[in-house]
Symmetry: D2
Subunit: 348 residues, 4 copies
């Protein structure tokens, strides 16, 4: 089997570096090109990057020459993965897709576009069918696939199996890691020994993106789920790992033990096909009363599983705490897994 050759936009950023590391040992995806900002173009990757990932820069990436984001620099790859900053992504990605290049992207523009699939693989891999509609209606020569906001990626996991119980209202408080704001996103002086109870834009994205992902594909449209969710997003002095404290109100009592089993047994196409980046158990259910914790649980299954603990029932409500790796399940890993699914389904 030939390897998929990919190029990576935003390869020197924090999420980009994570992808470089994850791809370095991938069985069938080969990192063929790396792209970064104009002042780095032409340099070798090892000279262009200020490496902050654990371990050394993977050998295969060290001597890649940094290219631009222009389509001409990406014609000879199978797919472009994008870890671009949101403010740059819109123009660059659109231009690539129009020129016939397929893009799988982590950035926020177009996420809510009704003809662009927003994929969290275990939840809505079937939405990739939307690509056919996209091709017909948009007249793009390439395909565009998006991944969700990091917190939505994590929170939507346990919501999926709960949907069928008649979810009525969600009250969510998030405790999000500093890396979610980017490597330079928050100064030590502002977040060290502190909590900032607000993250711009985040509180809206979570229910909106989750509502799209959890929707059913009906014909050539997604029937969005309207989540009556209130979210308060806070930033805590933790490096990696977004936590959500979730109170789910249902129309009638739901059994906590049943929920526990549903979550533990949750799995989908990526697990069925045993895809290389798929976690065996996308949702780990923890019994310890003081779990999940970022320092202990965030790296479970290489950061691709989310951990759920403290499942409790009171009357019509179910409460739990969920934790996930915002850089892997929430960003670099989800993109790679999406690409694996696309290939398995023949979109690439």
């Amino acid at each position: 089997m030939d390897k998929l050759r990919v190029s990576l936009l935003g390869s020197t950023g924090m999420v980009g570096q994570k992808m470089v590391r994850l791809l370095s040992s991938h069985p069938f995806i080969e990192l063929a090109k790396v792209s970064a900002s104009p002042n780095k173009v032409g340099k070798k990757y090892k000279e262009a990057v200020k490496w902050i990932e654990e371990g050394e820069i993977p050998e295969a990436a060290q001597d890649l020459t940094v290219v631009s984001t222009s389509p001409e620099d990406h014609r000879d790859v199978d797919v472009v993965l994008s870890a671009l900053p949101n403010e740059l992504a819109e123009d660059v990605e659109l231009k690539l897709v129009r020129e016939g290049i397929t893009v799988v992207s982590n950035s926020s523009p177009f996420r809510m576009d009704p003809e662009i699939p927003l994929i969290n693989p275990e939840i809505n891999w079937e939405h990739l069918r939307l690509l056919e509609t996209q091709r017909q209606k948009r007249g793009w020569k390439g395909l565009m696939v998006k991944n969700p906001n990091c917190t939505a990626a994590i929170l939507s996991m346990p919501l999926k199996p709960l949907l069928k119980y008649g979810l009525n209202k969600l009250v969510i408080t998030t405790l999000q890691a500093v890396s979610g704001a980017g490597y330079n996103g928050l100064p030590f002086m502002s977040i060290g020994n502190n909590v900032i109870p607000y993250i711009k834009g985040e509180e809206d994205k979570i229910p909106k993106e989750s509502g799209k992902m959890l929707g059913e594909l009906q014909g050539d449209k997604i029937a969005y789920v309207k989540l009556d969710a209130v979210v308060t997003a806070t930033r805590v002095p933790v490096k990696v790992g977004h936590m959500g404290v979730v109170t789910a109100l249902f129309n009638s009592p739901v059994n906590a033990e049943e929920v526990r089993k549903e979550l533990m047994n949750f799995g989908a196409f990526p697990q069925d096909r045993n895809l290389p980046t798929a976690p065996k158990h996308p949702i780990r259910v923890l019994e310890g009363e003081d779990r999940p914790q970022p320092e202990i649980d965030v790296k479970a299954e290489g950061g691709m599983a989310v951990s759920v603990g403290r499942i409790r029932q009171e009357g019509d409500s179910i409460r739990f705490v969920v934790l996930g790796d915002n850089l892997v399940r929430g960003a670099a890993g989800i993109t790679i897994l999406t690409l694996e699914v696309m290939r398995e389904l023949g979109y690439i």
Copy 2:
């Protein structure tokens, strides 16, 4: 006016030291005696304490000789303040009260006792009237007054003015500081760069103690308010300042602007009488969308005011974030203010 002479149990602990500092400049309370564990008895305070409060040990306290917790060591003071650890407090405090000594205490035993007032001064100073019942029914020669759990002290403040709108349900997530577990409560290795989503005992205490404090004194009994509250208590790597993210569901829509005004104008007996430890505004309402924050807001009004921000309405719910100093409003300061109220009302 003669000064009130007090002795202080648990004087070398973190809350004890805070009291020593607060009392050092008090206009009419004099720290006459300090008590600590048996191995420190007989030493000078400055030799017995490992001082961690800011600044030097107050001069008046430095050379006090540490005494035991036995009643004979506290006969010649007007009141005993207690910052004892919970596990020691029950026996010691009971013995003192039986021997005719009045105790105002921060420790947890007896807090839910129906004949012992649990005082957060601005909220339920009137509950001190219960002391008359206590005297009659218990036959103690002294009086016993309790202060609430530190988180309950902070959260109950904004709940008081909201009660009248017909509070239906509360969903609360707390982000609590490490000092709430005591100076040695949590190792750096466990809470540094981490969140622990569980605090033993805390989730029950908050609604129970708040329900008692918010209740009305009817005859010689408090009619507890039954709060339908679910609390998830988390520990975050912050030294001082407990935060609560509160979603309050009402029976009908409540106007956020009105709530804002109610909170801003909140005040009671301690403010009316201008007591020395009373904050001018017990509740600060902040407009900045990213406030309150422990590093900026916790010391407002010397730590005696709580700060409320992000007040928002959606349908029948009001949401907000509240922050308070767990060592001052939540412990040392609330005890001193309680004593000030007791004296103003003639109980001492």
Copy 3:
């Protein structure tokens, strides 16, 4: 006595805010004007600043209108204090001085200029006499006085009384707080849970600036002390407080007890005249074997005293640990104290 009217450049930065707070209760210096970057000019201070100092913005400053750095905006004050970033300071300060305005500045340009006094008041207040030379030789209409780098300000304090013993060589490791790099200087992701063993420019400045400050004024020149010092400057995840671990090698053994006394008794003109910002004891000598510590000692005497501990002798070497508040003794406070000395000596 008329108050000195000052204006403050860089008033919205971290050091600027510290000066605003310190000046708000000053007995004879009045903050008359605040200046900040062009996009803030014309706004009220309270709207221009993102206040991070403890407590509220001082009332007297809240409604000051932000002015530019141009000389015409500062003609009616007695002195301009500068907390400008280094890269902006050179041009702005020079223009002001040429136009007849006296500037006392924290910024780095001109610090090593032989005709500009570099003042750490207790150490070299006498260097202010250099202003007469400055006036003659430079032909400036105003005067320019500089304060040292924050670490040099702290380290030079205990070196002064040691000089006379025949200092041969200094080996210094610093553990510096994050605030020394400015509020936005270091991202949480880079310094949280980390040590960075390098601070650009710092290792040279410390011996050079100290050598100038410790020099004797001979006629109209300072005879710089050539310190044979090697410095390794590290950044640690601490918000405020620069620590230096100092090994001083002498030509012959020096008695530790004698050093202890010299340091404890150290004082100079600011102490003699009891100037308002002068600490009573510029050097606190601590006996506890695990002191000084930033969390306990940095605020001693309002941040104007440095703390020295662990004084030990081995053969010809004396070792100790010194700690100081990099924002007060190292920046905002040293500038105000310098101004107090200048006024006392009649330079203003």
Copy 4:
């Protein structure tokens, strides 16, 4: 080749857990038994341990039954590894050795005993020959081998290749991680946002233990190197990674470039024999001016390599910064590597 069967004392502690994880994938050492404190004896390992290492408890260890420290519980293993707390180690280890069991131990008692080898494998593997003397003179039936203090293990690495240049004096400041004090060693309240410039016992151990390890084995004795070293040991709020800032004074100038090469090329018996836990390059030399850093460099070669940066020469001195993983090179890994060497040399 048969596997070596080992039992592990102190298996539930932080270092013990690290050993359990490292041994779980070892090619020829099998963890056969785990021992812990009396109240855990009889439980399964997975029930006795509060697992804090990354990932799940290794399967092979989960169901091991915890045994006591008594010799009868360790008769059927080839070696006992000890990660016991210092205060318990002396009696337990002595008893085991007397009863014929070979012990390789991390604990501090007996480290300076002239007949007990203190092994940092790359530095002094040849000292294992001392075991023959030990056997003759002590009359123990088993053998006792010690590993050094974690900081001495790290610092001694770069000192070894420097010795030959005529080391005259060492001035060392350490910045040590909190894990060095044990998992419960330091409360968050004391070390968070702080530096504690003192670690009990540490400053003496470093030169003493290094002097023993760096000594030459002459006949049946080690000729200790007398290091004229002054050490100031500080604790910084970092979880893992001890750093040393080293100034080495020589009798004559030493070329920095030559030192760099010596360090880079350093290697010994463990590298020659390609032992499984041996790092390829025991000393990594880093070029970046702001390296090494705990967050980036501590896990190099699985934590078994130390990282050296900022090598500089001034006159007769060479300065550098060294960093190592205190839990792997400084504790769990060094013990396992020592055992590998012992087996390779036929001592087991």
